[in-house]
């Protein structure tokens, strides 16, 4: 783990379908400035910049960190760019934390983003085009069979995905940055939407959003001087596994289980459901909540849907998941993982506003990507380790 590292600043943009009022640089700068303001710092106080986003084809700018160096105050500083597919927002935060934990830097700015309105994400995610015919369309086409396998394996009733879709959208109504705000969201409303990829309905999927999320990470000394409470990084982990091979369990991926075990060990957690106060987990399709409840060890295999059905993951449940509204409510893909990490930090700093989980002291941030093969997680806490 190395030296202590804390989140002392968080900044987000409003997440929307289209941010035509800002360029990509303007979008990132909006988030970065808010993070600096939260940290009580200016651009000159930052020692290094780490940025992350999902594939460059989303906006059509190759290696955009070069263009963004000026807007992010990176002139004369180390700047690097992380790309680990959908988990990238989490991985980027972990790489930035490493720069503090290793003792190299005092204050690191990290920013993740996507401006999806400048492209067509479903086309970009239809992998193998233009070289081969693709058998799946978009991420939903890829994940739907995994969800069907989960339902078949666990015997979950068909309405579980709908419950998650409603719960996360209800939470989003309390989050000023959330993209989808659907007053009066209900099961009937979700069930009335078209089936996109059996069994995923329109309102059981994430939106395409423009948005950016930024954090300022700091050493112990720098954290002590911060104006607002810090969130201490108690553990970080990344795991990857190959996308295709016979026997890979895409419903309960080993990489996710290993990363969870690693991050719990670092944070001294043996029973995540009891010892964590809330979790921000990457749920882009509603059925991933019960699947990840099992993958992350909150319950045994086949039990996840029962926790969801019993309301355990609701804002007033014993283990609130995605109090911010989650990926189902805002999905600027490259930023989505960092938003999970940042929202976990806001919770333990007591700065989550209306969607604050009362008394939250330890929280999990989680991201996954690729063919459910890349995982990034961290646990943050109110108390210094």
């Amino acid at each position: 783990m190395g030296n202590p590292c804390a989140v002392i600043g968080v900044g987000q943009t409003e997440y929307r379908t289209r941010r035509l009022d800002v360029s990509m640089a303007g979008l990132l700068r909006e988030a970065a400035r808010r993070a600096l303001q939260d940290a009580g710092l200016d651009w000159d106080d930052i020692d290094a910049v780490v940025v992350g986003k999902a594939p460059d084809l989303f906006e059509g700018v190759m290696m955009p960190e070069a263009y963004l160096a000026d807007a992010l105050g990176a002139r004369g500083k180390p700047m690097m760019r992380v790309h680990t597919a959908g988990s990238v927002g989490g991985s980027t935060a972990i790489v930035a934390a490493g720069l503090v934990q290793s003792g190299l830097h005092e204050r690191v700015l990290t920013v993740a983003w996507e401006k999806q309105s400048e492209s067509n994400a479903t086309w970009a995610l239809t992998v193998n085009s233009p070289h081969n015919t693709s058998l799946v369309v978009g991420a939903g086409g890829y994940f739907a069979p995994h969800i069907r396998a989960y339902i078949a394996r666990s015997g979950a009733p068909a309405h579980i995905g709908t419950l998650v879709a409603v719960k996360d959208r209800q939470n989003a109504l309390k989050n000023p940055y959330a993209h989808l705000k659907i007053p009066g969201i209900s099961r009937e409303m979700v069930e009335a939407t078209p089936m996109l990829w059996e069994p995923i309905r329109y309102l059981e999927t994430c939106p395409s959003s423009d948005g950016a999320c930024a954090m300022v990470l700091a050493s112990e000394d720098a954290a002590r001087r911060a104006p607002n409470p810090p969130a201490w990084v108690l553990g970080t982990s990344m795991r990857s596994e190959p996308i295709f091979f016979a026997g890979r369990d895409t419903v309960l991926p080993q990489g996710g289980r290993d990363a969870a075990a690693d991050v719990y060990r670092q944070a001294g957690i043996t029973d995540p459901r009891r010892e964590l106060d809330c979790a921000e987990v990457y749920v882009p399709f509603s059925w991933y909540e019960p699947m990840w409840l099992e993958n992350l060890g909150f319950c045994g295999a086949g039990e996840g849907w029962k926790l969801t059905e019993a309301g355990a993951t609701a804002l007033d449940g014993d283990i609130p998941w995605n109090p911010s509204g989650g990926v189902l409510s805002s999905n600027p893909i490259g930023a989505s993982g960092m938003i999970r990490f940042a929202e976990a930090a806001l919770q333990v700093r007591g700065m989550a506003g209306e969607h604050q989980v009362e008394g939250a002291r330890r929280a999990l941030g989680h991201a996954y990507g690729g063919g459910a093969q890349f995982f990034a997680m961290w646990i943050v806490g109110s108390d210094k380790p």
């Binding site: 290696m63 263009y67 690097m80």
Partner: protein
């Protein structure tokens, strides 16, 4: 936090102008196999790679490469969409934590799949610059002109750089073997002639990093990283002095470049070597690019990593005591990384 970390193994492909018939993964797989065999290590504490989706024109180039690495059981792994020299930096930082002692770093690229000069245009500011369509070589020509006007370098000086690089490259079995530059070649984009421009190259490379005693166990004479730093300049070409590389100067100072015997510079144009030499304060006593450098093996997304590997190889074989590997990213040397390695760890 201080920990002794070294380059203990380096493997590269025989770089080719056009690797017909092989996919990126097929180029990479033998390199990964060889570095595992050479070190006897099959599982690494951390793995990090560099590549660029725009070379294949399809997202997630690194995902398929993971299959070549053998990521089962799941591994701790990350990726930078930059030259793999930055993947090496990420792995170096990860190794500073004392819970792991080895890291695998690799990079690969197959620029022959597209028109590389045009592809690189997509790297520019998407609102103001890219729509104008300036290609990589035209921008480099601006920088060459700026440098020549300030420093007084002549076109003959540029050709001398190309001649030395090509002569060295012909002694390197992994590089392209190119003829001496012909003085009567027409301009590509004045003042640059074809021989002033690195040939884009298909290929892959891998490095293993190890810490402390593990490094000594894996390598008879590890190349200890005694300094590594990287810096960015402004993107806007009018917002910086194109005739110099300020980011290289700062990175070189912070990495401790003074006193190196050998420097492997990621110069993709002859004038870039002159700018980098000046920024790093390399005198005539420093051997520059004994491998031929990127002018004979510009394996896109791995060329910077290859420079670190080539420099480390001079420590491994005992022919040098202090060396430097350099990598660059962005238009006109916008971002630069300097890695200084020595035969003895800094005590």
């Amino acid at each position: 936090m201080t920990r002794e970390i070294a380059v203990v193994a380096f493997v590269q492909t025989r770089h080719r102008t056009r690797e017909d018939g092989l996919s990126e993964v097929e180029m990479l797989a033998p390199v990964i196999t060889e570095i595992k065999e050479r070190t006897g290590v099959n599982r690494f504490g951390f793995t990090c790679s560099g590549s660029c989706d725009y070379l294949a024109g399809t997202p997630f180039a690194f995902v398929q490469a993971l299959d070549a690495v053998g990521a089962w059981p799941p591994i701790s792994e990350s990726h930078v969409e930059m030259d793999a020299a930055w993947a090496l930096y990420e792995a170096y930082v990860r190794l500073l934590h004392d819970d792991i002692d080895t890291a695998l770093v690799y990079g690969f690229g197959k620029p022959s799949q597209g028109d590389f000069r045009e592809v690189m245009t997509q790297q520019l500011d998407p609102y103001y610059l890219a729509p104008l369509g300036p290609d990589q070589v035209s921008l480099a020509a601006l920088q060459a002109r700026a440098h020549m006007e300030r420093a007084g370098a002549k076109e003959d000086d540029l050709r001398a750089v190309a001649a030395r690089a090509r002569a060295a490259g012909r002694d390197n079995p992994f590089a392209l073997h190119l003829d001496d530059p012909a003085p009567d070649e027409d301009y590509e984009v004045a003042p640059l002639r074809p021989y002033d421009i690195a040939p884009t190259t298909d290929g892959a490379a891998a490095i293993v990093l190890a810490a402390g005693d593990k490094a000594r166990e894996l390598c008879e004479r590890p190349a200890w990283i005694t300094g590594i730093d990287h810096r960015a300049d402004a993107h806007g070409l009018g917002a910086r002095d194109l005739s110099r590389s300020e980011s290289t100067r700062v990175a070189g100072e912070r990495a401790g470049a003074r006193g190196v015997e050998v420097a492997e510079l990621h110069a993709q144009f002859t004038h870039e070597e002159l700018i980098l030499r000046e920024a790093l304060g390399l005198g005539d006593d420093v051997t520059v690019n004994p491998s031929g450098g990127a002018m004979t093996a510009n394996t896109v997304m791995a060329a910077g990593l290859v420079r670190i590997g080539e420099a480390a190889a001079r420590i491994h074989d005992g022919t040098a005591g202090k060396v430097l590997g350099h990598a660059s990213s962005g238009p006109c040397l916008q971002q630069n990384l300097v890695c200084v390695m020595e035969g003895e760890p800094r005590g």
